[in-house]
């Protein structure tokens, strides 16, 4: 088995290295990126329904945005698959547009969790709670739910607020999620990695229990059945309820989160987080305000999650507490672990790949086995936790830095001090 995989792996690594080198060489970057995007678009148009062609399109976008070309060229090259080819595939196959929106949501969530775990080194297992917060903020007032506890709503807007509410709810959802983040962050300030993990896990459970039971004494969340239907957003007179419109909305949100991530990573705050992650005592000694930085990481990561939660409510038009379970938190963790902790590109790839595995690959396997007449009790589409567990275990054992490791500046100690005993300095290390 190993003998079979090793040459394939070596060839693949070589091909990727050759390709990356061409993208980083100024002479060849533009033509390589253009060729990559062109092939991806052609594949996307020819085989629109395949999950793999979506992944390929996203990879071409990543390749183009990371190539050494002018920013204008980057935007044009990235725009073609994202603005044209993928929506085309979405209209071609009605089940594909929601899948792509789901993918955007997960990319946004994974980027946000990556901020907390990858940048700041705080393992958060209750990340979905903030997502729930954002979703409920929008959904409660964009449905008949608000009329159930507020006489004002019952009188003036029994069907909930109109599409404009989406834009008004956005800052509110960000604020609510950030406050939830602070509520979690304050008691855990002094906790170490493993305690932090279990407390955040408990926090996620608590938010789920509360959202399930806040139908008494006043019915705020709709209890276990949840809230449905949720009004679509609108832009002036134009309703944004169609799947294509939601696609563009999702794209907008995700691109904004992505840009924010790149800016944050390179900022003063991002460097403070990195210092805190690598060694909090040394960071404190260097004047990094640990408490402020930790709270900031929780609040910022949470607010991204809240925004994605709104998008989820819009896409689903229905939310209930079961959607915000522990499995989702672990699913997002599996995405960032697969892609590479702390690596923005890696996290995007990981999120896209895990989304496809969950919603396409498992279903394909299930369909394939259905022909074999396996008992219906063995429903492969339900194997998601198994998949997440395997991803976490295998990545930790075999490739801790992820599929697309974070490029961190490294210093070769041997070169500095002469060739003394080799000091291992892996480019990417997992945060403590």
């Amino acid at each position: 088995m190993k003998a079979l995989f090793r040459p394939i792996g070596a060839a693949l690594t070589k091909a990727i290295a050759w390709f990356t080198a061409r993208l980083h060489n100024e002479q060849t970057a533009l033509q390589t990126a253009t060729a990559f995007v062109a092939i991806a678009v052609i594949v996307q148009v020819l085989i629109p329904s395949s999950g793999l062609s979506i992944l390929f399109s996203l990879l071409s976008v990543l390749g183009a945005t990371n190539a050494r070309i002018k920013p204008l060229h980057k935007w044009i090259l990235a725009g073609v698959p994202l603005l044209v080819a993928l929506p085309y595939a979405g209209t071609h196959n009605p089940s594909l547009a929601p899948l792509m929106v789901q993918m955007f949501i997960y990319i946004g969530l994974a980027l946000g969790l990556n901020l907390v775990v990858g940048f700041a080194g705080l393992l958060d297992l209750g990340y979905i709670a903030f997502f729930a917060g954002g979703a409920y903020v929008y959904a409660i007032f964009a449905s008949t739910q608000a009329a159930k506890f507020s006489p004002w709503f019952a009188e003036h807007a029994p069907q909930g607020l109109g599409g404009w509410w989406f834009w008004a709810a956005l800052p509110l959802a960000l604020a609510v999620a950030a406050l939830l983040g602070l509520a979690l962050g304050l008691p855990v300030l002094r906790m170490r990695g493993d305690y932090l993990a279990i407390v955040t896990l408990g926090f996620g459970e608590v938010i789920q229990v509360i959202s399930r039971n806040l139908d008494t004494p006043i019915n705020i969340t709709g209890g276990a059945p949840g809230i449905a239907p949720i009004n679509p957003p609108s832009l002036g007179p134009i309703s944004l309820g169609s799947s294509t419109a939601i696609y563009y909305l999702g794209l907008l949100f995700t691109v904004l989160v992505g840009i924010a991530m790149v800016r944050l990573e390179q900022s003063r705050v991002g460097r403070a987080w990195a210092a805190m992650r690598e060694d909090d005592i040394a960071a404190k000694a260097m004047g990094v305000p640990l408490i402020k930085m930790k709270l900031l990481a929780f609040a910022t990561g949470a607010s991204f999650s809240g925004a994605m939660g709104m998008l989820f409510a819009v896409k689903q038009q229905f939310i209930n507490p079961d959607t915000f379970g522990f499995m989702e938190s672990i699913g997002i963790l599996a995405m960032i672990i697969l892609g590479g902790l702390g690596s923005i590109r890696g996290v995007i790839v990981g999120a896209a790949a895990v989304t496809l595995l969950r919603f396409q690959f498992l279903r394909d396997i299930s369909d394939y086995f259905a022909n074999w007449g396996l008992p219906p009790a063995i429903d492969v589409t339900k194997y998601q936790p198994l998949l997440f567990g395997l991803i976490l275990i295998f990545m930790m054992i075999y490739k801790q830095e992820g599929l697309v490791p974070a490029a961190r500046p490294t210093v070769d100690i041997n070169a500095l001090e002469g060739a003394n005993p080799p000091v291992s300095g892996k480019g990417a290390s997992v945060a403590r």
Binding site: V206, V209, A377, Y383, L390, M396
Partner: protein, 319 residues
Amino acid sequence: MQEQLSILPQILTDGLIIGFLYAIVALGYTMVYGVLEFINFAHSEIFMFGAFAGFEVLMLLQKLNLIATMPELVSLVLAVLVAMFVAAAIGWTVERTAYRPLRGAPRLVPLISAIGVSFFLQDFARVIWTATRGNFHQAVPAIYTGSWTIGSIQVPHRAVIIMIAGVVMMYGLIWFVNKTKVGKAMRAVAQDRATAGLMGINVDRIISLTFVVGGALGGAAGALFAVRYTSVNPYIGFILGMKAFTAAVFGGIGNLAGAVMGGLLLGIFEALGTAYLGPLTNGVLRGSEYKDIFAFLVLILVLVFKPSGLLGQTTSEKV
């Protein structure tokens, strides 16, 4: 109010019983933590497999029509022993495959691997019992169905079994760790792994053994759970594991007597909270719905105000 107070003895008894269950699961967490300073997230799933193993034994005995003819104690002991064996085997395998290769890695790495193992085992159990028995919710053949009535308090026989087992396991473990040679080696590894290795202790074997013993404890707890509640499913470990971990932290993690004490106190708090939250808020909040939150509140309060727990020693982090 009078009516509320009259049920107090029953509530305390129920709390104590569930507390013993938390206590035996907490022993497994605290033991592994004591040696490795590592939360074995998969312990709750090892407990769950123990419950299923006990269930399978009782099903087999029922099929052979032995439950009715044999003394109940024999069925119980068989179920617990098989569950201990199965769970110990799983504990050993998990340590060997998912934790040992990561020893010496940064803290987060084995933790994430452990979460992965926990998820994998949970879903694996679901797959196995869905495939073999058609449904992952299973009813366990009932043994020890009677109960005693002392005054106004009802004590099921099954509950007494858990209490006895809890006390036996705690004292057995304390004896094992403090009085046997292997226990001494374990304490040495807990104190300083490198030095213990230099003193001729096979560190890998001791750590393996820790997981075997921890797993066996979890397995026994699982089988007792199956007997007590007469139903098993793959998700019984998750919340119970979190509460047991809370109990371990409450009592002072790494401290065996503390784990039992934490478990009992947590069980009683939870029972009181569940019973009286409704009446105290005039029925606005349903206590039973918020039951799982009490443990979490205890965890937060303990970690904020007394992170070393009730019986734990304060340790300063090594730099």
